[in-house]
Symmetry: C2
Subunit: 460 residues, 2 copies
């Protein structure tokens, strides 16, 4: 503990911008959030969640408090890693587009692993450390989440075991290097460490792995080790809660620019954590009627259109069908996501709270194809100087479209979007874009017939 | 111009930390700085410099003013790119080392291209734009400097042509992608665009290229185009001047931590710009006697030991012998630098002002081998959470050694070092380190017999 207490690592008046509490949108939702369910319609017993996650995180997952205090140690570590992150006004982009709109973006890419993921990784590692957990286990695809959790584990002296999809493990060694530099144990999945992994390898010793298999291995690993707990990088309420630090900072930074509430709040959506992190603290004021005209736009890839073309129904959180069922927008957990570069958006569902807001018409969803997204990312790089991660470039594309709409209408609207990460570890996609080799993927056909029909059947 | 004027892009009280003027150490040096010379001992006519560089930059190169005002447009753009950069206290590193020393580091890696290089690139692009220059031409090895200048060119609507060493162009495509995203024209060198390049290709069509050849091509390109000017990323006085923004910010940030002047100021040295940028504003107070006990440590690779084993003599700035001669510490412009990962430190000489300070005993030089440097970088990654660029890891290694010396002596000394860039584009070296494949290189034998014997023979 001592090593993370004591005076802050960074001195600047700016650190006052980092909030003291996270914002929990659940009590403010227009309808009660449907609970997770087991296939038989029962709500899973809390003990199940507490065997998998730290108790404090389960408490946050089901909390109905509007504000939850950020532990001082967590706040100090986040400041030490570079919070508050900057809010920039995209003046050159505005001038390039000839729009009367004022465009602002929150840049999370200044954090050490290059994205917002560390905001929740640090909080999750902290609570696990406090509860005496010795090891965190998780899965990662391309490695953004795995590297963030590995960093957080290093800062709180927790062992971290990352099951990494084998194809990424072999083809994208750099994110693995990052995790290993942070002291994590990175295991290509499927592995021989778990029954789930061994079963797959017996059928196919050369299996390239999948996020679903990696999740199965991480959860089995946790269930077979008392002092181990599981950690998830998106979708769940407590993860989104930790990310609201982004929007709470942005609201105060907009004031410093002399702005009030924005007219548009935009972000990309995989599981929903970076968008909810920026948007929910503003959504609060739309829901309360303080500024009901605010528009919220969630952007996803056309190749994985859960919000724009999926159904709002109960589905498993993982592709293997091991987790409880969540009420969410989904293209089905067996949907084969085309291999777009935006790996962080290749998820079949969306966070339950965000799905509810979309279903209620409070958040508009838009989908873009890969090539138009990279074109927007390349334009933004040249005009603003920062190369967006392929995921974040989806938000850039929508912000540009809204700014062009404002040029037509003549509205001097205020646009805020989340630049959730930089693209310095994703330059392969830009290389293909520049060489004209980047291709688009049509969405696969969406079949939900295999989903269990469940409805709530009595409480815990 | 309009597009870079107007209100700042970033609002924060922190921006007050960005200085209004750069610090020019030349008038404060203990001895007059020896001028550049032609092989016949004459000082090159100013016209020559002004044909190659923007006039304003030549004025700064030979200025004897102690402070030079930063144009508001340059300051605004640098703030828009993320200045002030954070100053962090390395509390966890202190505790890990068990040292009574307080360790602070200035982190330049939050800037868009991941290093300090953009500080001078923006200033150089600005002055060239003001003087009506249409295109900047430069050379780059691994691409750090080329990407910084490409970004600056994009921000000021200047064309940028980068001659990139062909072996890097082919083996390290990602930095090239970054430059091309910023709109620069990246040309593998040797090229058919110049006589210098064609001559090399005639002898060897497969020539891998070298920084020396790339410099020759860039200068020939400039001399054959009226509206083109050359841009250099280190060594020269005006480049070091632009980097003093680092140390001027750090001095004020140290005050925010409640510190006075540091006891040790440490940085890595290739040409010298990141170290001078941090150190000179503090060196001023050593030279003035305000705190003469301050120790300055410049760190270089053992494989390229210009400060620790080179001579202090006149040598060419480039390996081809095209530039005027500079009085500097050098291992000779024909020295074959071993292929260490820290590409930014693979330079045969050092900035004249820094060389003079080392020769006067005001700066101590240390050299480390590649494996101990990467070990320090890996330790820093795990303890502090930021992966240092291989160049910056040299500074980390020295800071750790000084902190361990403080543990022996029990001194609560204050250590300040420059973390000039992050290593997210240099993970290959860390991969080799983690796999035990990283090797050390003995310095080549140093032969200076071929250097011209020159001495000043009359003024301009």
């Amino acid at each position: 503990m001592a090593r993370i207490l004591g005076p802050r690592r960074r001195a600047s008046q700016a650190e006052d911008l980092v909030p003291q509490s996270w914002y929990n949108i659940v009590p403010d939702l227009p309808k009660p959030l449907p609970p997770p369910l087991l296939p038989d319609g029962r709500v899973p017993p809390r003990e199940l969640f507490e065997r998998i996650f730290a108790k404090a995180l389960v408490g946050q997952e089901f909390s109905s408090e509007r504000f939850i205090r950020i532990p001082e140690e967590v706040r100090d570590v986040l400041i030490g890693l570079g919070r508050p992150t900057p809010l920039f006004r995209a003046r050159r982009l505005e001038e390039f587009l000839g729009t009367p709109a004022r465009i602002y973006y929150k840049f999370e890419g200044v954090l050490p692993t290059g994205s917002h993921k560390v905001n929740t990784a640090v909080a999750q590692a902290y609570y696990n450390m406090v509860e005496g957990v010795e090891r965190l286990s998780t899965e990662t695809g391309a490695g953004q989440w795995g590297s963030a959790l590995s960093l957080a584990g290093a800062l709180f002296n927790l062992k971290v075991r990352v099951f990494m999809v084998r194809s990424s493990y072999e083809q994208k060694p750099y994110r693995r290097v990052l995790m290993e530099l942070y002291g994590a144990e990175v295991i290509p999945s499927p592995s021989k460490l778990t029954n789930a992994g061994r079963a797959v390898l017996e059928r196919d010793p050369e299996h390239p792995g999948s996020l679903g298999i990696a999740i199965s291995e991480a959860i089995e690993d946790v269930l077979s080790h008392d002092k181990a707990r599981y950690s998830l990088g998106s979708v769940l309420n407590h993860v989104l809660l930790h990310q609201t630090i982004i929007g709470l900072e942005a609201a105060r930074q907009l004031e410093e620019f002399g702005e009030e509430l924005p007219d548009y709040v935009i972000g990309c959506v995989g599981g929903g954590s970076n968008y909810a992190g920026l948007a929910y603290p503003f959504m609060r004021f739309k829901l309360s009627g303080k500024k009901s005209s605010m528009k919220f736009i969630a952007v996803e890839p056309r190749a994985c259109p859960s919000l724009t073309r999926g159904a709002y129904t109960y589905d498993y959180g993982d592709t293997a069908g091991l987790t409880p069922l969540l009420k969410m927008h989904t293209v089905g957990h067996k949907y084969r996501v085309p291999p777009i570069h935006a790996g962080g958006l290749r998820y079949h569902g969306d966070a339950p709270s965000l799905s509810l807001l979309v279903n209620e018409g409070l958040v508009e969803a838009r989908a873009y194809s890969q090539t138009e997204v990279f074109a927007a990312g390349a334009l933004f790089s040249k005009v603003e100087g920062i190369v967006p991660a392929p995921e974040s470039a989806h938000a850039v594309k929508a912000a540009i479209d809204v700014a062009l709409e404002a040029r037509e209408s003549g509205e001097a609207s205020v646009i805020l979007f989340n630049l959730s990460g930089h693209g310095l570890l994703d330059l392969q996609g830009y290389l293909e874009y520049l060489e004209g080799r980047l291709r688009d993927y049509e969405p696969e056909s969406i079949d939900l017939s295999y989903l269990p029909r469940v409805s709530l059947r009595g409480g815990p």
